[in-house]
Amino acid sequence: MALTVTMPQLGESVTEGTIARWLKQPGDAVAKYESIAEVITDKVNAEIPAPADGVMSELIAPEGTVVPVGQPICSIDTAGAATEAAPEAAVPASAVPAAELQGAAVQEPAAVAAPVQRAQPEPAEAPGARAEAQSGAETAVGPIQDAFTEQATDAAAAEDASGGNGQSGGYHVTPAVRMLVREHGVDLAQITGSGIGGRITKKDVLEFVQRRDAGAGTSIPQRTPAEAPAPAPPRAMSPAPGPQPASSVVQAPAPASPSPTSFTGAGEGETVVPLTAVRKAIAEHMVRSRQTSPHAYVMVEVDMSAVWRIRDREKAAFEARHGVKLTFLPFVARAVVEALQRHPTLNASWSDAGIVVKRAINLGIAVALEDNLIVPVVRDADRLSITGLATTMADLGARARSNHLKLDEIQGGTFTLNNTGALGAVMTQAIINQPQAAIMTMDLVVKRPVVVGDAIAIRPIMNLGLSFDHRINDGLQATRFVTSVQKLLEGLDPAATLV
């Protein structure tokens, strides 16, 4: 059984992802939930898990390609996942000579990595050994791989034949569409699907044919999948009536690349650093955010004396009890969550139908990596105490750094908090993480002389900044929200203990 894996929906407004790296090659055994590819979308690196046990049979999308959500990226042969006891049965016998098959199948890594490691003399812990084991396996399964490739090609050819064009492989084509393709001689690659997962509907084909026939004589511009679907106003349908617009429609205004700046080559004294997929994704997101939301800013100074004292007193015991360091971050996060409950329009998104206020508070915490920016999300952050936030964020942060976040841990954020102080910044203006309403930055806590009453005192002061989408909130609401966070932090009882 060839199982086609498609580009998953990696976020609410995400319409495409870039294959950064294949973690499995054709012929590799994959276990269900095992990561098969690294995918990059706006700001995040995510790993795609295998939907079933099997053997990777074909990588449809090469590394570096941008694939729309719902389009196929690879196929996995699930027949290869038959019981370990009888690996021969797992392979289509007719396609492979028996001798080859047996030799290969014995060495074929089963769904788990263990058998491979067992076959190697080196200790499994050594990363090199693991890599060798894998490459060894690759060589060993060569014949099988060929067999699978052949099979996949056959399948694609069959679909091509029925689709009546050379490029329909990988499309989900209904009988009605197939009929129309045959009737009108349409190349499906030129049509952007408006159905679920980018499926090309009968209506899409009919509209395409109408446009084509209307403009007969003039050439049809070749459309890439990244391009917006043709304007089809009545098709703004989502499966359930709801304020969230269908992503396939949202995609429309997003340019495929941040700017069409052309560049002919490095001049004297210049070096061109090639763009990584992550760099491109970040660039696209930043440009889009700036173009989408009119940013406005507000900043207040927060007297962190109370937080400072609590933290000073509790940090040793906290680390001993929970195994994570107690920083200022969970205090601020807790205050942000409480303030969001009081000011729900900051926990919202813009839509043409109205401002979509989110009931759940999913707090994104920006994590800076050397070559990437990741915003893992603390789901239902309003249900967590300061301690709960501290441990959850520490866990997410650690896994963000080791690239082990799961997809749903980087999706669905409703508000983002950025601990810019951790890097030493004292004043920051962040760019909103779309489609959220605002992003908050907490800068470095600095001891400063401040006037208290009529005396000068030394107090730990933190700049707290907010960049907000002025379409959704005005300065009034934004400032109220920020001062709410400020008052919550300043009003903490310095004698309070953490549970």
């Binding site: 009988p175 009605a176 197939r178 159905g195 679920i196 499926r199 009968k202 499966p239 009536p241």
Partner: protein, 336 residues
Amino acid sequence: MCMRNRVTGVAEKTYIEAIRDGIREEMQRDDRVMILGEDVGAKGGVFGVTEGLQKEFGEARVLDSPLAESLIVGVAIGAAMNGLRPIAEIQFQDFIMPAVDQIISEAAKMRYRSNGDWGVPMVLRSPFGGGVHGALYHSQSIEAIFAHIPGLRVVVPSTPYDAKGMIISALRDPDPVMYFEHKRCYRAIKGEVPDGEYTVPLDRARVVREGTDIAVFSYGMMVHSSLEAVDRLAADGFSCEVVDLRSLRPIDREAIVASASKCGKVLIVQEANLAVSVASEVAAIISEECFDSLDAPVMRLGGPEIPAMPFSPPLEQFYLVTPNKVEAKLRELAAY
């Protein structure tokens, strides 16, 4: 589609008035037409369909029967075979079970068994369907049992116009006709009904609303729920064709194929549960005849596979196919 003759005027009437008008007029024209059933006489029927008819036509033609459904249908079969045109009323479709042997083993088979010499020109009328807090014994939709049986006609009008035209056609048909009335239609559904004589064919579906994107097949009260949902989708630019099947046996294959092929996406809506039902038959016809036109899986919406309609109002709502549920399903199909 509808043959009109000797129509003198048009008035807005309820579904129940339309049925009564059709029966009364046919009784005035044809002495052979008579009614029998529980409480159909003095009381005028449990819902009032036969109100005033006993007074007008006398006890011999509007007969209160004992509480014995097998007797009602058995007597009607005998009367029909001996030259009358009886209407047997079963008070609720739920109560039809004791008469099923008479209907399926006798009425349905008479013409075949007698090599065409005998027929059973009987009309069996019965209300069905839920949504009126009728609970387990007054809410069922078991039309599929009879739609399965060769030798029977099964019709379900959804509008006052069809209700009158089809009861007249049924009374003139030489074979047994199961005429099922959705009880929620009785007073909720109003429409223009011509005065005087006209008939509506017993084997033709009707396109109630023309559209291009999704074909919705339905019957009885569900036609109205579907229309409400379709109107909501129309606001978003989606054009749905609504087909009132009207006749469940024989079913109008031609109409089903035409609308399904035209739209490419199909939703079948019924109140009954789905397994082995009218919706199953419609879906089967479409898969046999419209395969090359389909642009989405054929979808069905019906009651859940549980034994009966519950009494508890929230559970009744859970069971019922409401316009909201139809809308959600249509949107799912539209987005496909």
